[in-house]
Symmetry: C2
Subunit: 373 residues, 2 copies
């Protein structure tokens, strides 16, 4: 079973490390001169050159049995070319829907999924409508750019609106999607995510929901199961991601990030791929999201997503590798083979415990130890 | 952290796959033109050429921070050379003790560990002593050759003894060890094994004992914890392997295979390395024997060896890779990248369940499925 992955970062690395033991081999397709160090030694790395024909690209990718992606912000053209020769999972339409916040919102509406309110913004007058409907404070997000909190603007008053209008690029996207969406600044109690996998035969398995804590808009740590999340919200989230995957005829792992407020669960964002908030699934006795993604796209039976006890994940952001310190306290370590830069995601730690409460205590202790200065 | 492993088989493969995520890189030292397919792509492969000086071998091995082995039947000379430049774990003396059944028996005696009775056999008259002391049936084993039941002879009567004497090579080993040991044919109820890890700082952790079932002297499946093994025998086994490791100042993973009879626990064999009967430790929420071996030899803190629930392991012996069949029933798969030959160890499956009873039922169902003809 030969697999081509579009992307060469840590998610591609961990997919490969999950697939190799199951008899898979890999080719990695790089875009825009991206850093390929995380996949060094795990397979051939080939540039996804736009000039290649479908046949040439398929051959360069090692004639894969299946193609997948590690990110949604990628060129769809190489995937469309490869789809002429072999399955691409998730399918390019699913990726297309999730590439743009406006399309993603429409997808949530079509699937009857509770989502954060929004107004599409393609002009100054749209923004006036948004102010009227949503009030201040408001967040304006670029529909296609930005992750980890980038390409987002918080508007607190009419002065901020004027500044934004002055600097904004109101040019419509090529497919006439508005370039921005405006959302209310959600007064949420907590953020949770649901990670699920759907097989080629349509079986869906959902991992326990994780509670995620961000630092400066970057995920810092996750805890699963999300402590004390009401069963009604768990059920709602699981049913929602299931509906979305079925609607898209999705194959592989998908993640759904949500806000929890006193009014309920609000889906904020979808990721058509394995996701940082699912890294806790490694080393804790379930089939990891990486293993299950590879099993799903290969057409193999899925592995267990049922966790006994609790698991915690701590991202290693901009800290040097130090196994003696970081592996303490029974944790497992996954390092991404990247050079150290401030704030960069370089690896993560996973710990397992009997209960959410004890896992959380250990997670916070570990965080203090890793980030002590 | 760069690691050199002497050996290029599946154990080296799984050690590397456990070490890479923790930031390790690898060089594999091959002996006698062995098959290196299992470690393809996981690091450089270098012949452990006897002509190389210590400096040359150390350089060829990529100037490792630490050296380890995947088998005890290896030349010690390359390890002794490498030990001039970096730590070798387990130490060469520990490997030396376990390379020869007579030395191993003496080690068990020195450590006050209950072992199968034996008589060293270097001549026909030694064999007469053995018959007198042990009676028939009796097993004569070569002290240095043989694994998976090879180089062993079962003697049922004086005719068998005469045949054996006629064909035997009674030449003493170079270090004057007898070439054979004779043991009674143990009338055991079951076989269990203990796998333990000892850190550089002397911390010992023992995994739950596994019950092992062999087919034609080759391990077919393991179940952990060994169902219904009396706590007194668990305690005895754990204390025994701890004493042995401490006696040898051992660093890394060691396995101890035992017979259980109505009279108690009898150590049959030691393996100074990760072991097939410990493969169940992968994918079930403990730090696997491979991960813990790498953590130990690197001088990093150990991971958990405490299993919640139960785990089963089924070897894939001479069967073609078929993920659709083999991954069914929630199992995990590790394939060794070797060519298929009858009876050859090609991979294994691991399953996890709530209890030993349910894990055993699923294991036997899976075995019937994989080996149905």
């Amino acid at each position: 079973m030969h697999v081509a992955i579009l992307g060469c970062g840590q998610l591609a690395r961990m997919m490969a490390l999950a697939g190799i033991p199951m008899g898979m081999t890999f080719t990695f397709l790089s875009e825009n001169g991206e850093d390929t160090a995380p996949v060094d030694g795990l397979g051939a790395v080939v540039a996804a050159d736009a000039c290649l024909t479908a046949e040439e690209l398929f051959a360069a990718a090692g004639k894969p049995d299946v193609v997948t992606v590690e990110r949604e912000q990628c060129a769809l053209q190489p995937l469309q070319k490869l789809a002429e020769h072999c399955p691409v999972h998730p399918n390019t339409d699913a990726i297309y829907q999730c590439q743009n916040r406006q399309r993603e919102k429409q997808l949530l509406i079509n699937c009857n999924v509770s989502h954060t309110p929004f107004v599409s913004v393609a002009s100054a007058s749209d923004l006036e409508v948004a102010v009227e409907k949503l009030g201040f404070p408001m967040v304006v997000k670029h529909t296609e750019q930005g992750y980890d909190g980038k390409a987002q603007w918080r508007l607190y008053n009419t002065g901020d609106v004027e500044n934004f209008v002055t600097n904004a690029q109101f040019k419509l996207q090529s497919d006439e999607a508005a370039p921005y969406v405006a959302e209310p600044f959600m007064n949420f109690d907590r953020e949770v995510s649901f990670v699920a996998v759907r097989s080629r035969s349509g079986e869906v398995r959902v991992y326990p929901a994780a509670e995620n804590v961000h630092d400066n808009s970057v995920l810092l740590h996750s805890l699963a199961p999300a402590p004390g999340l009401p069963q009604a919200l768990v059920d709602q989230g699981q049913a929602s991601i299931r509906r979305i995957m079925e609607h898209l005829d999705y194959v592989g792992v998908m993640a759904m990030e949500c806000f929890v407020t006193s009014d309920g669960l609000w889906v904020n964002e979808l990721a058509p791929r394995v996701h940082n908030s699912g890294h806790w699934t490694m080393h804790c006795g379930v089939a990891s999201q990486f293993q299950n993604h590879m099993r799903a796209i290969a057409g193999w039976p899925l592995g267990s997503t049922e966790l006994s006890g609790a698991a915690g994940m701590l991202n290693l952001l901009g800290v040097e590798l130090n196994q003696i310190e970081q592996l303490d306290d029974n944790v497992a370590l996954d390092w991404y083979n990247k050079s150290v830069r401030p704030g960069r995601k370089l690896g993560h730690l996973v710990l397992k415990d009997e209960s959410s409460a004890s896992a959380q205590t250990r997670l916070l202790t570990l965080k203090d130890k890793v980030y002590r200065k």
